[in-house]
């Protein structure tokens, strides 16, 4: 009896080469992932749009969702009758278009950007603990912002954002240079260099905070905990542009990122230029992170956990996981921001506090399910 006879008939070499491949059963991880994507992408989009609409109508100044929608459409499409017939007040118009919509959009953009950056970071450093801030980007932004608040003359939000973005750039460049050796970026060295630089920057931030005037401390804490409350349409430009650019970059490298999951050598033998993919993706993720940290501050949890949730639900194939993580991040942070400004109104809960309060229990529940085990998160 040869070894081939022991195998099931369809496993015999050449036996099924010409036969039609059997369809994957419904319980297969691939099939389940594909189905989940087909359901999740439209569902998350719908949830996101609903939350955005609710965000524009909920607040101290009463605006019905229908009126909020009319105001938004009226600003986007010229010549709508209800914009000039006096049915909507200027106060309502301002509340929706000047304050609530930019804020909700910034929350959604920030959530999407952090989730995308986190997913990319985890893939290129082979580490499930990686997150957008692991390279010291947020700590660098923190130093930038705090230096401006402490040493700057007139504190304007735009000024804080610009110096935060510069701080993030400096941190990224420093980590990149420190982790690079012989033209190669070693993932372990990158993580360790990022953590070390992060502590260094945090120490500077702490020192500046403790030695500054008391009235500055509130602005500092406000930035460090993260908030999108001061958003204007102008603030949206940089994060949205960065999100689009990096999203496109990631889309064209989704297959190569999949190869990276099985190891550097394996990816290289599959035709992936590993060093170029790793440096390119790191720079893209860091710039994306820097651009949102500069306007929203350090919002934790989203970048670490949303990619894992997406993996648990649809599997680790980046072609499915990245869109779900991105939409999920947007819907999650937009929801959190709506809660942040309504739960304790008129007071506001810092966004970073709420993301962890809402997200951590959900994630811990998900982590204990069998599904998490099978995608490797439970190990």
């Amino acid at each position: 009896m040869t070894s081939l006879e022991r195998l099931p008939p369809d496993a015999r070499p050449g036996a099924s080469a010409s036969a039609d491949p059997p369809a994957a059963p419904a319980g297969s991880p691939r099939r389940r992932g594909a189905l989940a994507v087909r359901i999740l992408v439209p569902t998350l989009t719908l949830v996101l749009l609903t939350v955005l609409l609710l965000s524009t109508s909920i607040g101290t100044i009463a605006v019905s969702p229908a009126d909020a929608l009319r105001i938004v459409i009226g600003h986007l499409v010229p010549g709508m009758p209800w914009m000039s017939d006096g049915s909507l007040t200027t106060v309502q118009d301002n509340a929706v278009w000047q304050f609530r919509l930019p804020r909700a959009l910034l929350a959604a953009t920030t959530g999407a950007a952090l989730a995308l950056a986190g997913a990319l970071m985890q893939a290129v450093v082979h580490n499930s603990l990686a997150e957008p801030y692991i390279l010291g980007v947020s700590a660098g932004a923190g130093v930038g912002a705090v230096s401006f608040i402490v040493l700057g003359v007139g504190v304007s939000t735009l000024g804080v954002g610009t110096s935060a973005f510069l701080g993030a750039l400096v941190a990224t460049a420093a980590v990149y240079v420190l982790a690079r050796k012989n033209g190669r970026i070693a993932p372990q060295r990158l993580i360790l260099a990022g953590v070390a630089l992060g502590s260094l920057f945090s120490a500077v931030t702490s020192y500046l905070t403790i030695t500054t005037d008391a009235q500055n401390v509130f602005s500092i804490m406000f930035f460090l905990l993260g908030s999108v409350s001061a958003a204007t349409m102008g603030h949206l430009a940089l994060p949205v542009a960065a999100l689009l650019a990096v999203g496109l970059y990631a889309a064209f490298r989704a297959r190569a990122l999949n190869a990276l999951l099985v190891g550097d050598d394996a990816a290289a033998s599959l035709g992936v230029n590993v060093d170029r993919l790793r440096s390119g993706t790191l720079v893209a993720a860091a710039l994306l992170t820097g651009s949102v940290v500069a306007v929203s501050g350090g919002i934790g949890f989203v970048g670490l956990v949303l990619p894992h949730i997406a993996r648990i639900v649809v599997g680790s194939d980046h072609r499915r996981m990245l869109p779900v993580a991105l939409l999920g991040g947007a819907a999650f942070l937009a929801t959190c921001d709506l809660l942040a400004r309504t739960l304790a109104a008129p007071a506001e809960i810092p966004l970073g506090v709420l993301t962890a309060l809402v997200g951590a229990p959900f994630f811990l529940w998900l982590l204990r399910r069998d599904r998490a085990e099978s995608v490797g998160v439970g190990r």
């Binding site: 015999r12 580490n127 297959r255 033998s269 599959l270 680790s316 995608v375």
Partner: protein
């Protein structure tokens, strides 16, 4: 596709590991690389597959210097089955095999029907069709080896580089995998540890010791008891297989002359020859 290895030298960690190795593998034949641990087999295979740059010499596929090929082109020429793989994130078996189709596609690309058909055929050829819906990390060592071999086949390259592909396989699957290797019309370079399996399955054998190619030729030309003693430090007896008549080696004892023996107790074990000597 013919593979020419010309005067290859290679370093690893600043230390020379391969010195002046030249060998040609005619199109469609199987070259088995033998040698003790640390003899440079894996490094040579890494150089041939373009994963490590040689410090001297060059490798040609069908006359083309592989240093002139970019990563993607190279991956269309040579598929690699090696030991390492990361397990940080989970991947289904079919997706693992579909990775072999990366060099043939571009961009965001969803897997074409042809990609999926090729992947399923490759799985069927290695006797792993029934694993298609499993998770790679949930497989046994032997099942993983077969899936990784399927990935190399799905890459559809004229050259295959296999670094100890029979690791973790039971004897039936070892024979089956080597029969598959022999049956492909591809040019194969394969590192093996089992001398008898290598003699049975390879068209030519190259023996590496301390980074040099010590001997190269057909299995019958290369493998003999003197070479096994000097390279592996093992005494052996060659016998004819009762049924096939093929030369077969029986391993008797470690040679006392072996210089890297660390355990002094080993030195006192008499060899077959000493026992039978008058």
């Amino acid at each position: 596709m013919r593979v020419d290895i010309e005067n290859i030298g290679a370093h690893r960690g600043g230390r020379p590991v391969i010195t002046d190795v030249s060998v040609s593998v005619p199109s469609g034949t199987v070259l088995g690389l033998l040698g003790p641990n640390g003899s440079g087999k894996s490094t040579l295979l890494r150089v041939v597959s373009g994963l490590a740059a040689p410090s001297a010499g060059r490798v040609r596929f069908g006359g083309t210097d592989i240093a002139t090929l970019n990563r993607r082109k190279l991956a269309q020429h040579v598929a690699v089955m090696a030991q390492e793989h990361s397990e940080e994130f989970e991947i289904p078996v079919l997706d693992m095999v579909l990775l072999g189709r990366i060099p043939h596609g571009r961009g965001y690309g969803r897997d074409s029907d042809r990609d999926i058909a090729v992947a399923r055929q490759a799985l069927a050829r290695v006797g792993a069709a029934h694993l298609v819906d499993r998770s790679f990390s949930a497989l046994s060592g032997g099942e993983r080896q077969r899936v990784l071999f399927a990935r190399a086949l799905a890459q559809d390259t004229p050259v295959l580089v296999l670094d100890e592909p029979t690791n973790h396989l039971d004897i039936a699957h070892q024979l089956e995998l080597l029969d598959l290797v022999k049956a492909t019309d591809r040019t194969v370079l394969i590192a093996l540890h089992d001398l008898n399996l290598a003699a049975r399955s390879c068209d030519a054998i190259g023996v590496l010791a301390e980074g040099r190619l010590l001997s190269h030729g057909t299995p019958d030309e290369v493998l003999h008891t003197d070479l096994i003693r000097s390279v592996f430090g093992v005494e052996s007896t060659a016998v004819a297989h009762p049924r096939s008549g093929r030369q077969h080696f029986l391993f008797d004892a470690r040679s006392p002359s072996r210089s890297d023996s660390h355990d002094p107790a080993d030195q006192s074990i008499p060899t077959q020859e000493e026992i039978t000597a008058p």
